[in-house]
Symmetry: D2
Subunit: 342 residues, 4 copies
Amino acid sequence: MRVVVAGAAGYIGGELLRLLIGHPEVEVVGAISSRFPGKRVDGVHPNLRASTDLLFCSADEVTECDAVFLALPHRAVMTQIEYWTQRAKLVIDLTGDFRLNDTKVFERYYGSEHQAPHLLDAFVPGLPELHRERLRGADLISVPGCMATAGVLALHPLVAHELIDTQAGVQLDARTGSSGSGSTAGPANLHAERSGAMRVFAPTGHRHEAEISQHLGMPAAMTATGVEAVRGVQTIAHTTLRPGVGKSDLRRAFREQYAEEPFVRVVAHQRGIFRYPDPKILLGSNYCDVGYALDEDTGRLTAIGALDNLVKGGAGNAVQCLNIRMGWPETYGLTFPGLHPV
Amino acid sequence: MRVVVAGAAGYIGGELLRLLIGHPEVEVVGAISSRFPGKRVDGVHPNLRASTDLLFCSADEVTECDAVFLALPHRAVMTQIEYWTQRAKLVIDLTGDFRLNDTKVFERYYGSEHQAPHLLDAFVPGLPELHRERLRGADLISVPGCMATAGVLALHPLVAHELIDTQAGVQLDARTGSSGSGSTAGPANLHAERSGAMRVFAPTGHRHEAEISQHLGMPAAMTATGVEAVRGVQTIAHTTLRPGVGKSDLRRAFREQYAEEPFVRVVAHQRGIFRYPDPKILLGSNYCDVGYALDEDTGRLTAIGALDNLVKGGAGNAVQCLNIRMGWPETYGLTFPGLHPV
Amino acid sequence: MRVVVAGAAGYIGGELLRLLIGHPEVEVVGAISSRFPGKRVDGVHPNLRASTDLLFCSADEVTECDAVFLALPHRAVMTQIEYWTQRAKLVIDLTGDFRLNDTKVFERYYGSEHQAPHLLDAFVPGLPELHRERLRGADLISVPGCMATAGVLALHPLVAHELIDTQAGVQLDARTGSSGSGSTAGPANLHAERSGAMRVFAPTGHRHEAEISQHLGMPAAMTATGVEAVRGVQTIAHTTLRPGVGKSDLRRAFREQYAEEPFVRVVAHQRGIFRYPDPKILLGSNYCDVGYALDEDTGRLTAIGALDNLVKGGAGNAVQCLNIRMGWPETYGLTFPGLHPV
Amino acid sequence: MRVVVAGAAGYIGGELLRLLIGHPEVEVVGAISSRFPGKRVDGVHPNLRASTDLLFCSADEVTECDAVFLALPHRAVMTQIEYWTQRAKLVIDLTGDFRLNDTKVFERYYGSEHQAPHLLDAFVPGLPELHRERLRGADLISVPGCMATAGVLALHPLVAHELIDTQAGVQLDARTGSSGSGSTAGPANLHAERSGAMRVFAPTGHRHEAEISQHLGMPAAMTATGVEAVRGVQTIAHTTLRPGVGKSDLRRAFREQYAEEPFVRVVAHQRGIFRYPDPKILLGSNYCDVGYALDEDTGRLTAIGALDNLVKGGAGNAVQCLNIRMGWPETYGLTFPGLHPV
């Protein structure tokens, strides 16, 4: 299968290239970069040295392909979506442009009017754990935000099994590494400024809360903090169980929801160093680890999600969607388990 | 003034020594360590090389002194408190033993019966911002936990000015560096395991939530996560303002509460890299930075506190209490402003 | 092929398990740990959750196998080597016990008399780039030390092409992450002590200098420093070119030496962020990147090597040796290219 | 005393402000920034919140002052030096412009012709440990580079006591944190790129080697690597002792050289976690720790220096020079001892 990556010089773009170059059914026929056309891909992504001789190209050098991955800046895709649908049978968008299906919500969180509202319903959310069947026939896929994916997957069993009162809403606390700011970030992301920081960059109203709210059908409020890490997202959701719900219900809900999922692991242990989901051991892997802890006295539940923002939070999730869409084994190109220690 | 530090080989103990050696009115006459009696203090605390020739001693080498700081393991002080009150006029306890004034709450959070319940009321909380007047006459002082201090100081103006409904309770999310685990921590704190971690070590029921609840008179639930840092605590509190309360009320409450405080700064900026409290720039300093952000659509408020857990979250706060108790300028020994970048 | 890993709960052991579990020709039939017999492997190596249900076993539970990897403490293998040769046709030792072929040198660097000197010549050095042909028929393989591998591979083309005067000797400066100290390291490796350190732990006489000296046939002196990293080794070698040798000779030597090597990349660029070998982008990969820079005025040459100490510096290199020994494609199980950014 | 800082928005500039604001004899009357004139100083240097209300100004707002510190880009000072000597009685330059007294060497290392060669001899090197007497009467002071200071102070006793053969030259290996790249660094210093790196940015010919060579009167070659740290420089010098020189000569040389120095500590211990100089415990302090280790078999000596590049490697050293010049106690404003752990 011939695929193209647009925005290939960015961090998500580079991760798409790493995964697609290692994919048994895919040939990368275009790596588009407006900044580096004609330059070697491995000059920007040095981990790909000896893996590829590909050069970046400009968008107009691409004629047609079977699939295109759009790892572009937010708000860039909605104005050029027809350009891409004409060139590729399958479009997988990794920006925020087609994640929210309500134009008013989009405007509130992205600060601009939506430029292609007629296509919002045509995009299938790139969340296999919630939308696998729809993805099998999708030609337009919108991969969710990294924190949204972690938050949704941690809370989904609670909602699906009606263990929490969705009307009460949910408060989330998200932590993220610096790669989420992208390869063109400014002075605030200089190593000397960002290193060791606990930077509350979105004390209220982070965009991904809108996605969580939409996917779960409940109000969601999220605080986002940059912590010391390059990769990695962790979300902590604070909720309260419905009266009468207990530990065994929780166990059953998580097990039933995720027993067959290839990339979700339930991590909630009494012992050991890694008792709850921690992105540290997920670098490079496509897992989203989810877990929970219950305060039995009060019914308060903490639901935790962790992932590598560039993989399950972006490029890896996109490749998983591709695999589903094409009917390939879902783990193709995604078998790296992560490292420990690291 | 002649002071003794018990637990002087630990991280809080070392920080007490750093601050007290640099204090213009204090002479350190004893640095007690059960592990290293007779060894040089600067062999364990290498930052004090050239600052002191002090040797560690054992507890029984100390006869009497004007003040003792107890930087011992939790539950060790309550069984030996009379030993110390006989040797020192002023006892400043940095453990959790006398922080909670309800023995049942103590038992629930510390898992043991309290051994000196008759003294619980005699200890004055070492929180100058809430108890300065009582501290002026205190002979027994109990310094609060690091996350509790950050959480209480961030929320105190909201409670004192009745901007939030205390009955609704508060949910907190705390992040902390590795030094809080102490110098005798086990394999879970090996660098290879702890580096780059986002380790939810207390998903529910962290001890410091009981202190926050007690100080503020409202239910508090806290999740605690170890993030990549050696020093530093940040707490994020999620609350909702009372109807009708707005931004100007918030500004006034924080300003009035802290305008005269030497070690609390209100940090809530629209611009710049450090817009909200971040412990990164507080290493070594006695500041607790507090800030807040309001989602005006929903009334949700995020209140943020940050400090160096070994300074304002421990040793520095203890020295500030000493200064208040002795009638000295409150900043004696505590003038280091912190570094940037670092 | 049925393989056993001894020392499977350590960091090298865990990395062997990760690589062997993902290897298309290998079945792991034993993961020996004296600390955790009967416990789940993924309880210690959380990255292997969902990849394996293996339990650790004790050594005496292993009857026979096709190959055993010994990831044990130094000096443990030489006293039990016959035990292992009776149980496995192929023994791959990852300790220092059979790396040095001169017992006097061994004694000087390891501080004990060698317990199996008669076997020293029987072990083939596990360095494919220097000993590939011998490895094809080897039944006893001794994998070199992590810093030795980086240092040797960076210098080997210079020696092989006689570009430097070996009698002049070589001075090396090595930097390493904390995982090299192992999973049972003591208080000096606590996160609070080790984080951000530049710790010269071997200012002179590091053991790996003896290996470098032996492999290259020239005196070598090495200084080793622990820097902030969990994984990663970098060695900087300072040498002087023979008179008349120039840049084109250097280029040719490195190209000819490594053009066909699957796991050595020559990295010496004029531009870009990653101009010289940096272990940052090698985490989890089996590459050893090598590079060099010449001061043309003085003839001084800096030769640089970088690798992941647990992979090409240990477990990965061992698997590469296995592949060579068995006649399999050399990259089996070792295709992960590394990440960027990370 | 009325002092001005030019380049006050940079990292060295900020550190000068921190130290000078806390200095008992100094009043900062101007903080010049071409980027932020009129903006609050603590908006750029958040650690100074509550310490100062100073605003940045432009250069032409400064009329005259007693001393000016020039923390400007390299090559900027030599073209404007007369402007400053007309405005300030004492000029302390922190750039590289007046560090090298040979214009040819300057051209080779800085790539431009010197614009004020007539003043090269008028500048006194800001190295108290070598030039204290000359500094007492100096009106023009040139503070050395951070790595040069660490390297020179580690080697100086060996040269002064003639323990090494200076004709043999010296090879140095320097490691540095990211703050040395300054607050206007580009994409190579993004956190995601720089974090965890071991980046050999100067494999040969780093500028500071020319300073070391000049100060010690011997050929010096230096390799410089950026490692994971914001602050901190460590230099490792590889030398060989003259025949007959032994450990006691080394001890005596270092002790005699530095016994009276307020900011140099000799660190060479057999035990403990911090046996050799490590910048980790020097953050914010003005110490340069120096140490050494001898391989008695070969006579090879490793001499190690460590400091905070922004303090003893820049701003702190400059303030120490000011103190000497003014006849004040040398430790004024420089008493912070550093932190542990951190």
